[in-house]
Subunit: 624 residues, 2 copies
């Protein structure tokens, strides 16, 4: 067959082709389904793409029960087999991240304009260790969410003039964040967070970072060169930039992990020694000893600021969720295991719901901690429990030591943290690989910098969506030619060895045919025909007799699209040009049949499985 | 070659394949382009898909000038060659549509809560005949735009309490509509109107129709059976339903065209004869004789209602534009000539701008008139001039005759007109062919019916866009198998004769890989692998060794997508599974190269032009 096709395609002598009996494959419909079945399939595709219950298939009830328990409380997956060896490594890593957690907790709280509460490193980690499915995530406040909460709340409520209300709003928005996150997980709407593209986030974080740095800068004037010495959090940025960096130099991580604590200790000692002369330097001052009281009574469900709390909760929840999930996925892929996005969301959500009642603000899997945790050799979520215990001890016995810690150090920690969020390499890569992504990135950057956090975000989302729509509105159409000695047809532009088939115009359409592009497609295809006819005239070649549409890449079609095809066929008939549709996908074939658009074709000789067969069959028909 | 591939594919004895020297085609990059070139190409694709200047290529300056003149004033295309024969047919058709125009003009004005001004059938047609590129369009007010204007304006300004302000707003919004339409044309943003899908409009029109009928019904009570006798405007609906109906029974058109006029005449005479006893029946009453004064002074650019005028203008402009363009395209395709969407927009826009200064409200190519015009044998836009003249004569001499025309008749005309907009067959077809389109249709219907016109529209647009996004978020992935005796790979589900290739899993991805679906794709593909491995275990088949991604239908990719591919490759490496990418389109290949994602593959042996070549090459490598 390839022989006959060869002769047909390269030189136009069809004789040989005709002599060979040619059996066509035809274009079958997909197996019939009822509307209900289709709906069910679609729904399960949308909400359960990972088929979460596949483990339970044909198991005994008891096993099902255990598996179900393990599904909802992953701690039961590892606790039974938990031994001393595992604990030793978890102990080390747990203490390591605790040393990072305390100064970070204080600084990030400051970032959110909150009093230095570090409970957020106590309750949430314990809950996560029960519910979370990642083994390496270190739970705690995340810079980006802290920034946004600070920015959004203090826009309307001053943390200095009305600290009580501010605190209430912080806890309330944490609750909202948690509810939002948990419900995303429960209703399996995980895919929603996918709509914040990486490009958007890079720009967004850079913008936020600059805003915050400017806020904090006044606190650090004079000691900038000192802060530049501790490169603690640049790793945070890499959560959204390249993901296995963290594997490269584990030692460096330990250093960077120790850096904040050491700097805090050193500076505190320094101030303590010369306290007589340094009493003008602002310090943290008295810290509440022990756990803060439960904050259920501080939740705030009435009055004018409820909407603000809800909005803040939504956005901070979204952002922390994105970092949390991304972190989980990152280390899962490093440790070569899977984390279930929707389950993670539930865990993080519940963590924040409980957190909001125990005076914690928004937390998630923080990248810096998780990276440190992973590199300090954490094996299970136990390391979170260890950290929590260490933090508890600190809360009860070591807090007074922080009395002399100068604020400048915290400001410095913050600035280096957020400066690390500016990921110019990633931005440059965007520019190199995908200009439109870069534009989206730039817009969210400028939006956050010059308008506001929500404005910047929605702007960026808008652009990302617009980009998708643009791709749909102006789909790519390419002229195809035959690759000699094969039945393969490829773009004439790319494959220089591809050859045109005389008196055929073969167009490959690459997009779903929707209301948004049906008109364009029709006019564009007619233009292709016009140009082809002009070309033929110049070259005195054989007249154009048939248009073949390769629909392999037409991934979907709607009613407008169907009409377009129908009208195109009509128009071509008027010009006595033949139309053939090649290899439409299942759903498209189905709709073509249902909509009677195929009445165009005498005896349905218009659908072919491959361009090659179409050409052979049509030329044969011409001969006959 | 097909022979060797046959042996390889169906039975797994690669020997024969290895012996045959196999030359691979490789996957070339698209011809290199600078960013600027790419940008230029993209822009010209977006704004000039029809390549408007193609006629001017290599012509003398004089010809260019003439062509340019003809481009902007299509009248110069046909006027030079205009003769008596043409005029005769244009005269007949012009008078015919005039007879339709007068009662329609009065009714539609009523529909928009405006005084019975029928100037809208005088000035705009003349302008269109100079600027418009369609030969058969009959210009006049369109029901849908009249409805919307009436609904939106009277929501805030009562046409009875403050008729003057209402009139001002009507003219102003007409101006806005015109400016909006013209600028869409000038900036070649024609594709924007494509975002109102047909499905949306069907629902929208049905909803609007019901709303209006209910408003008007009180006027007709008692004579409903009479109104049901005149099927004048159901044809209007068919503008968005099947398009060459109008060709079927031309005679009936003439009848339906005459219907309104006759009914008006009959009823008027009736009332006139028994005026003594019928003076309780509300009539049109005194109509202004002659042309209304220019309305420039009535344009309204200040005060609280400006926004309302702008909004109304935008929406009515959009709707009339859609009908206008659709009508133009319909009859162009019947008459086998092209109309330029953007040019039409300019024509309609300018028409409305001028109209707003000569006391006309929004007009466009009305379907009913155009259909009548076409079937009465119109040859050129001259028929519009004829109509305009006839209307002018009426305005000056025949208006008093309408004194006795009872309002009920107008109400009746309106109701039959709008009832005709309810296109249940089309809705049923939507349900049959595309359920989601039907939902969009339903939502716009209910939205308009129970909320408001703009709400209904935006709801429907939202759904249509969501539908597109949904398609992107959950792309279709199919397992492919080889069609025996060919190099073609097709869905195993659809093609029952397709066979799996031992130790290969071949997945066809059908969608652009974007931030919105990259995570989903990764997890879904991993699930496919898991399920395949389970299947293999059950069947004790040869172990899975290689995953082939057929990227033919991956129409585009962004940076998130690139990362996904890269991470997928990494994960597979960990499981010692091989990955091969087949036939990525130009832009995707380019980005893969730029982003270094191909570092995955030792010596870039990961890109293949066809699945067949990939399998042959990889199996050969295994043998070696």
């Amino acid at each position: 067959m390839s022989l006959t096709t060869r002769t047909v395609f390269s030189t136009g002598q069809q004789e040989t082709a005709i002599r060979v009996p040619l059996e066509l494959h035809g274009v079958p419909l997909p197996p019939p389904k009822t509307t209900l079945q289709k709906l069910r399939d679609k729904v399960s595709e949308i909400f359960f793409p990972d088929d979460p219950l596949h483990q339970l298939k044909n198991k005994s009830f008891k096993t099902k029960l255990i598996l179900g328990l393990q599904y909802f409380f992953p701690i039961f997956q590892w606790l039974p087999g938990y031994g001393f060896d595992l604990f030793r490594s978890d102990l080390v890593s747990g203490l390591t991240i605790a040393s990072l957690a305390i100064p970070q907790g204080i600084s990030y709280a400051k970032l959110a304009n909150l009093p230095p509460i570090i409970d957020s490193s106590f309750v949430p980690p314990i809950i996560y260790s029960v519910l979370g499915s990642s083994r390496h995530v270190g739970v705690g406040p995340v810079s980006i969410a802290s920034i946004v909460m600070g920015a959004m709340l203090s826009e309307f409520v001053s943390p200095t003039d009305d600290p009580d209300l501010y605190l209430k709003l912080a806890f309330t928005s944490t609750l909202f964040a948690g509810v939002f996150q948990a419900s995303l997980g429960i209703f399996r709407m995980g895919f929603i967070i996918d709509f914040l593209s990486k490009a958007t986030l890079i720009g967004f974080m850079a913008g936020a970072a600059i805003v915050v740095s400017l806020q904090q800068l006044k606190g650090v004037l004079g000691i900038t060169h000192f802060t530049s010495k501790m490169e603690i959090i640049p790793v945070m940025s890499s959560v959204f930039s390249h993901k296995n960096e963290s594997k490269k130099k584990p030692r460096l991580f330990w250093v960077s992990a120790a850096a904040p604590l050491t700097s805090v200790i050193i500076s505190t000692l320094l101030i303590f020694c010369l306290k007589s002369r340094a009493d003008k330097i602002p310090k943290i001052g008295q810290l509440p000893k022990g756990l803060n009281p439960p904050s259920v009574n501080m939740l705030y469900f009435h009055g004018s600021h409820l909407a603000l709390a809800a909005k803040t909760g939504l956005i901070t929840g979204m952002l922390s969720l994105i970092e949390g999930i991304a972190v989980g996925r990152t280390f899962a892929s490093l440790g070569n295991y899977q984390v279930d996005g929707n389950k993670e969301m539930m865990a993080i959500g519940i963590m924040n719901i409980v957190g909001s009642c125990s005076s914690c603000y928004v937390t998630a899997g923080a990248f810096s901690r998780s990276a440190v945790n992973y590199n300090a050799g954490a094996k299970t979520a136990m390391s979170n429990i260890v950290m929590a215990t260490a933090v508890l001890v600190t809360l009860f016995f070591l807090m007074p030591l922080f009395y002399y810690t100068p604020n400048v150090v915290l400001a410095a920690i913050i600035i280096t943290a957020v400066i690390g969020l500016i990921d110019y390499q990633a931005a440059y890569k965007l520019w190199k690989v995908d200009k439109l992504d870069f534009v989206a990135c730039l817009c969210s950057f400028l939006g956050v910098l010059f308008i506001s956090v929500p404005a910047g975000l929605s702007l960026a989302i808008g652009i990302s969506v617009f980009k998708v729509l643009l791709h749909i509105t102006r789909p790519n159409i390419t002229i195809l030619g035959n690759i000699p000695d094969t039945q393969i047809f490829q773009s004439l532009e790319r494959y220089t060895n591809a050859v045109r088939i005389p008196s055929f115009l073969i167009l490959g359409v690459a997009a779903p045919v929707y209301f948004a592009n049906s008109t364009y497609l029709q006019e564009r295809i007619l233009r292709f025909i016009r140009e082809e006819e002009e070309r033929i005239e110049l070259g005195r070649e054989r007249l154009l007799k048939c248009l073949i549409l390769d629909m392999t890449a037409v991934t979907a079609i709607d009613t407008s699209g169907i009409d377009t095809i129908y009208e195109l066929g009509k128009t071509l008939q008027k010009r006595s040009l033949q139309l053939a549709l090649v290899n439409p996908v299942g759903s498209v074939t189905e709709k073509l049949h249902k909509s009677k658009a195929l009445d165009l074709f005498s005896s349905n000789k218009g659908l072919y499985m491959s361009v090659g067969e179409a050409i052979l069959d049509i030329t044969a028909a011409w001969k006959a």
